[in-house]
């Protein structure tokens, strides 16, 4: 399967990429790792007239310790997030989630920025960043702005980014001694999650988010509220699906997904990893 014809442009800076996308407008799309976009183009579910390759903007591939949070450039690949000593030390939940994305070949190409910008609720990293209370930095023709991860996802493959805006940085608050768990239920190795859970807990404080439990990644606020008011993990996990709106598909019915969410939230919170 070969994608429909398109023009290929390569940007060497964020400013150049934004200038190009402003020039070509609606017909253009950014190409990062290409591991979500190219499969869609091969199936002709996407047919952009112009691809703007942003993967070589090396300025946007970095992981730094910024004090209260770690800053990750949007072009950083999953494999680099997974192995980064800074991420392993300060946001081990994110490193672990990154290690569950696809397979090594996918992680050699796919980027954290592409994963979040693509806004697929079945992806592991958007939910993980949501559980951790991430903030995103977007750059457009009129400068940069911050977007809270809770406000970012608008629907299936729809985000708060306008077509001429680029996601440039992901800021992850440090986890500071929290315990955490990442649970991914799938049938075959390398597959997407049928249901996934990213969760952390520090005393009565917690963050819990669900993969593939609706059209957007879901923050399970009822679980965190229950824990804050003294409920046990087992009791709180019963509320896992309260905010979710799962779909039924060939892998699982909505009811089964809700059951999985309750079980996986309990397992993730009971996990003693830190």
């Amino acid at each position: 399967m070969i994608p429909a014809p398109f023009d290929y442009k390569r940007a060497s800076s964020a400013a150049e990429a934004i200038a190009l996308v402003s020039e070509y407008g609606e017909d253009a799309k950014f190409l990062a790792g290409g591991h979500s976009l190219l499969p869609l183009m091969k199936l002709r579910l996407a047919q952009p007239a112009v691809l703007i390759d942003i993967a070589r903007i090396t300025d946007l591939s970095y992981i730094t310790d910024a004090g209260a949070y770690i800053a990750i450039g949007a072009m950083t690949r999953h494999m680099d997030v997974e192995k980064s000593p800074i991420v392993l030390q300060h946001a081990p939940l994110l490193a672990n989630a990154a290690s569950h994305v696809g397979d090594p070949q996918v992680r050699h190409r796919g980027t954290i920025g592409g994963s979040i910008a693509h806004s697929d609720s079945a992806s592991d990293l958007p939910a993980t960043a949501l559980a951790l209370g991430a903030t995103y930095i977007a750059q457009g023709p009129n400068g940069t702005r911050e977007i809270a991860s809770v406000d970012f996802h608008k629907g299936f493959l729809e985000s708060e980014l306008s077509p001429d805006e680029m996601l440039t940085e992901i800021r992850i608050p440090k986890m500071n001694g929290a315990t955490w768990g990442f649970q991914k239920f799938n049938r075959r190795a390398q597959d997407w999650a049928i249901v996934g859970v990213a969760a952390w807990k520090r005393g009565t404080e917690s963050g819990v988010a669900l993969v593939n439990m609706g059209s957007v990644p879901i923050l399970a606020t009822s679980v965190s509220q229950a824990i804050a008011s003294g409920a046990s993990i087992a009791e709180a996990a019963q509320l896992a699906a309260a905010e979710a709106e799962p779909q039924s598909d060939s892998n699982a019915s909505a009811e089964y997904r809700e059951h999985l969410a309750r079980v996986l939230v309990r397992r993730a919170l009971e996990s003693v990893q830190n």
């Binding site: 399967m1 070969i2 994608p3 429909a4 014809p5 398109f6 023009d7 290929y8 390569r10 190409l31 290409g34 591991h35 190219l38 499969p39 091969k42 691809l51 390759d53 993967a55 494999m79 696809g102 397979d103 090594p104 070949q105 996918v106 050699h108 190409r109 190795a189 390398q190």
Partner: protein, 152 residues
């Protein structure tokens, strides 16, 4: 568009359509048909090759994205008629039956050992999760990779 790609040590300048997939480029433009196409949907790993020393699925990458890069395919492994230690290990341990998955398995396995030179059996199995084999049941493939790690 014009791309300059070094494949197995030889630099090629080629005029290609931007939509040319890397696997198409090596198979059809360069005639290196050792890299197989299995699923064509980034699921099976048969098309795995190395770009700048790391395994990628070449059915899910544009040749344009490899412009200026070093590509290694299965044809580039043997030197002066002597097989790469990973190829030899697959042969010695019966790591293949029909051989269709083998080029991708060998390329993925070399990349795996580069990142993790002394993997456990479980790490080999997880490290090869992106490569499917319909024949062997994986056992001898895993043994081959462990043997290649030992041989180093």
């Amino acid at each position: 568009m014009k791309v300059t790609i070094t494949v197995n040590g030889t630099t090629h300048e080629s005029e290609i359509e931007p939509r040319t997939l890397l696997v198409q480029y090596v198979r059809e433009t360069l005639g290196l048909t050792g890299t197989n196409i299995g699923c064509d949907t980034s699921s099976c790993g048969a098309c795995s090759l190395h770009v700048d020393g790391e395994s990628v699925k070449s059915c899910t990458m544009l040749a344009a994205q490899a412009d200026g890069c070093q590509v290694t395919t299965i044809e580039g492994l043997a030197k002066d008629g002597v097989m790469h230690p990973m190829q030899q290990a697959f042969m010695d341990n019966h790591g293949l039956q029909c051989g269709f998955c083998t080029p991708g398995m060998v390329m993925a396995s070399i990349s795996l050992l580069k990142e993790n030179p002394n993997p456990t059996e479980e790490e080999v199995r997880i490290g090869l999760e992106g490569n499917l084999c319909r024949c062997t049941g994986y056992h001898n493939i895993v043994q081959s990779v462990l043997a290649a790690a030992q041989a180093k």
